[in-house]
Symmetry: C2
Subunit: 330 residues, 2 copies
């Protein structure tokens, strides 16, 4: 297994849940009558910001690392990331008792570099202007026999993120929700694709719809056109955590088969959702992790049904950004 040749299916997601059992946090559904009123329907929030390391990325990282053959895993793992994936891989590796090398740009936020190190990873910094990240990683992987853990375009990573969908299916049933839109913050599409596969099997009345920040709506445009579309810009949004150039080669076939039309929100709407999550749910969500909630609250006419489910995907927001959002909208 773990050769990267399989395509994610529901059995892989269920197997990922078994490997994750007892390591992950089974995040609850949160709600507030104040949010229901804004949205004009029931809003159920799945707060993956409370997940270990502050984002859903821990699930995919654990899934991929735990799927490696033990003798290969023992050599350690490698990841490229400046953010949530770095922390997820670092902690999952530490909990497996193996080493992790995370290749990060030297100009990444100090806090994220420090956190990744604090989870026990070896951080290798590179200069974005003068060094080739992929060549650096390939050399390290070859030299030490490290396994690369990709951020989204890997069947086992998608399977791990899909465990969020298994939980949503069960929690929606307990809430009596058989039909609803399920809004998912979408970067490369690993979380979106994984949840969509899980719901296809266990709650077919729940339809996944990706949510993205304006200007970085590659998935929404790709779903509309039927082929992979790229973003023009590669940075410059407060929603940095979910900015990727284009949908993944493994994730897009899944999302294009299973997901409803994408939703797009402005940075200001994402920041308002950050503040409403603070005020009404008492959770800390980063702007990129709040775009699904923003769509649930502010795209009433684009949604169907009496209830909407929104996944808040991460909470690793810098204090100055959070304070600025509070100062402006609280």
């Amino acid at each position: 297994m773990a050769l990267g040749l399989e395509l994610t299916d529901i059995r892989m997601i269920e197997a990922a849940r078994e490997r994750l059992a007892g390591r992950e946090l089974r995040t609850p559904f949160l709600s507030s009558p104040f949010l229901d009123e804004i949205a004009g329907r029931r809003v159920l929030v799945k707060p993956e910001c409370l997940q270990r390391t502050g984002s859903f990325k821990f699930r995919g990282a654990w899934s991929a690392i735990s799927a490696l053959e033990p003798e290969i895993r023992a050599n350690g793992v490698l990841a490229f990331s400046s953010g949530n994936h770095a922390q997820g891989v670092a902690l999952a590796a530490r909990m497996h008792g193996i080493s992790a090398v995370i290749i990060m740009p030297a100009d990444a936020p100090r806090l994220k570099i420090d956190n990744t190190r604090a989870y026990g990873a070896e951080v290798v910094l590179y200069n974005r202007e003068t060094e080739d990240r992929d060549a650096l990683g390939a050399a390290l992987a070859h030299e030490r026999g490290l396994s690369l853990i990709k951020p989204f375009d890997d069947p086992f990573v998608i399977a791990g993120q899909g465990t969020v969908g298994l939980e949503i299916a069960e929690q929606a049933r307990l809430e009596g929700i058989g039909e609803a839109d399920v809004l998912v913050c979408c970067g490369g599409g690993g979380l979106t694709a994984g949840i969509a596969l899980a719901l296809e099997a266990h709650a077919p009345g729940l339809k996944v719809r990706p949510a993205e920040p304006a200007g970085f709506d590659d998935t929404a445009r790709s779903l509309a056109s039927g082929r992979i579309e790229r973003n023009v810009r590669l940075g410059g949004s407060v929603c940095d955590a979910i900015i990727t150039p284009q949908p993944g080669n493994l994730t897009f076939p899944i999302t294009s088969r299973l997901c409803g039309p994408g939703l797009v929100v402005s940075d200001d709407e994402a920041l308002q959702a950050v503040v409403l999550a603070y005020t009404r749910l008492k959770i800390v969500v980063e702007p990129g992790g709040a775009v699904a909630l923003a769509a649930a609250l502010f795209r009433r006419d684009e949604l169907d049904g009496d209830a909407v489910i929104a996944v808040c995907s991460g909470g690793n927001v810098d204090p100055d950004v959070f304070q600025a959002a509070l100062a402006r909208y609280a």
Copy 2:
């Protein structure tokens, strides 16, 4: 039932859980390796700030209201509160389809007055200097047949808060924790007493210890002296949510029989815990709701065992207080 003559016991707590089932949020245990490192032991946080209305108070309010005889309940309920109890009673009443009158000081924070109204309660404001709150309440109760829902010194309220203890007993068992201190933010002692009764029955290796802000350590001093001691000051702490003049007449006999020595933290330590909960757990905790976590983190030598459980009791913090804490400690 509900005449206020019973003393809370484990059967009342279990009955309260049955009445609460499906209405409350079963809050998870949260943890972070960063907090473990500061504390020098495992730290498990029970985030009741995520509970409906942003604090554990919803549990006791629901328990008391649901225990009323239906024909008496139909007349509505009354509460005195400027904070979390007001919101808990207001929402629990609305979910029962009955009216709630909340008597609040006219100088209470505007946000708390607005929230209480938004949950559907009738808010009656009084002037602290010129009006007698109790006389006002008694007149309203008499006129409309309202039932008073006390904030802590009521057997059904204590039973409702005790459901937190039932959950802690089960969650600690799943985590393999048989012996630990359980730190509980303590005002009048309803939550502390309820949890202590639940753990006595279901997890006797877990010992409840109240946590209080410096200058308002009436429970710690009462436990030490064996009789009810009063605070000298009645206000002036950032931990306003858990400031009460003295332990309750019903709660103190329970806490004095079952609880270990109290722990006292400074306002600064509470604010640091607020920021660490933000940074490491992605939850919003008010200063008064963070004193137990502060004690878990900063009173290493006063605690026993390899693990400590801390209840974060509420999250209704004003944005300016929260921003000031972030600016200072993040």
